[in-house]
């Protein structure tokens, strides 16, 4: 009885495992197990050893209204158009910090994941606070 119950419980693991292994849209396990770190602006400023390349992951219209001085705009919607400028600005000494609106916005996570995957960046972080917190401290672009 116990053996049969165990067999019934374990049997679904076989198709589940195969699906997880072979499914064309399987999750990115490497990414899921090793997410891009989220840091605070205070922590970022406390470790100023590496120059920071700021990436604003919001939509271009929001970026145009105001952004961190020197930040480059790179979002999922303008990826191909704006990636060359990011690559031009990046050097191996740079630490890349990605922000979006803040308050749990997903854009910075998506852009940071994609930057790490496509450019094999090792020094990349997501800014936890986001633009909502940064905006009062910076001068809007002219």
């Amino acid at each position: 009885m116990i053996r049969r119950t165990l067999l019934l419980l374990l049997l679904p693991l076989l198709p589940a495992g195969l699906t997880g292994w072979l499914h064309p849209r399987q999750p990115d396990w490497k990414q899921a197990l090793n997410p891009v770190p989220v840091v605070s602006i205070a922590r970022l400023r406390a470790s100023p050893a590496a120059p920071t390349l700021w990436i604003d992951a919001r939509e271009p219209a929001l970026y145009a209204r105001g952004h961190l001085p020197g930040a480059l705009n790179l979002s999922e919607t303008n990826w191909e158009a704006n990636l060359p400028a990011v690559i031009d600005a990046w050097t191996p000494r740079h630490r890349v910090a990605v922000y979006c609106d803040g308050g749990g916005c997903e854009a910075s996570h998506a852009v940071a994941r994609r930057l790490r995957r496509e450019l094999a960046l090792t020094q990349i972080v997501i800014l936890g606070e986001g633009w909502q917190a940064l905006a009062p401290a910076v001068t809007p672009p002219r």
Partner: protein, 219 residues
């Protein structure tokens, strides 16, 4: 009191007069890559006077809005057609179209398109340092329109040579880049264009980047 209520209702209806779009956001999900797509934003002039569309702007040159005419009589319906030239774009796309009318109103419309991943090059950046002498490789994987063939591979900087080799017939290719002069003292940057053609004849262009950073001169 009744007069004020009537005035309020009248003002409210006036505020809604003019062009009213059935939906201001159109979302399209594509299962396979295409060169372009068309979206429609139907509208109606709910006012009592003729409305003239004075200007239409789009957030990207790839998005072309078109109207059959500019003037719409009271109660007349129309359709704003939007053509989106996809080119080599993939992944989520968000385009904004703004319609301006002579009654001073502007209407912001969103076209959201989820494009399928057509291809992926990993990594997109290969970095050579002064100590690097060997070849470096990237892999391009195509997800649709099999079999895909690479028709051209070009480096914008002759400091690098690039070649491709089949890893999985019609789907996965290894892209190998070689620094011509590993002892060069000048930095080099190259954009590599990977042209491909799918089974349907659809031609695509992918890019990846090469960079050489020579050793810093001794102080």
């Amino acid at each position: 009191m009744i007069r004020f209520i009537f005035l309020g209702i009248s003002l409210a209806s006036l505020a809604h007069a003019g062009l009213v779009f059935e939906q201001t956001r159109v979302t399209l999900e594509l299962a396979k890559p295409v060169e372009r797509l068309d979206a429609e934003f139907p509208f109606k002039n709910t006012g009592t006077a003729v409305v003239t569309v004075t200007n239409i702007t789009a957030s990207c040159g790839c998005t072309v809005p078109a109207l059959e005419k500019k003037n719409y009589a009271a109660d007349e319906k129309g359709v704003l057609k939007v053509r989106f030239d996809i080119g080599d774009r993939q992944g989520p796309q968000n385009r904004t179209i703004t319609v301006f009318t002579d009654d001073g109103a502007s209407h912001t419309l969103s076209l959201i398109v989820n494009l399928p991943m057509r291809s992926l090059i990993v990594p997109r950046l290969l970095l050579y340092r002064a100590s690097d002498t060997g070849d470096k490789t990237a892999t391009v994987t195509y997800y649709h329109d099999f079999p895909v063939e690479i028709t051209a591979l070009t480096s914008s900087d002759p400091a690098f040579t690039v070649t491709s080799a089949v890893e999985k017939e019609g789907a996965v290719f290894k892209l190998t880049a070689r620094l011509v002069n590993p002892a060069a003292t000048q930095p080099a940057r190259s954009t590599v264009l990977v042209r491909s053609r799918g089974a349907s004849g659809l031609v695509s262009l992918d890019t990846y980047y090469l960079r050489y950073e020579p050793a810093a001169p001794a102080p």
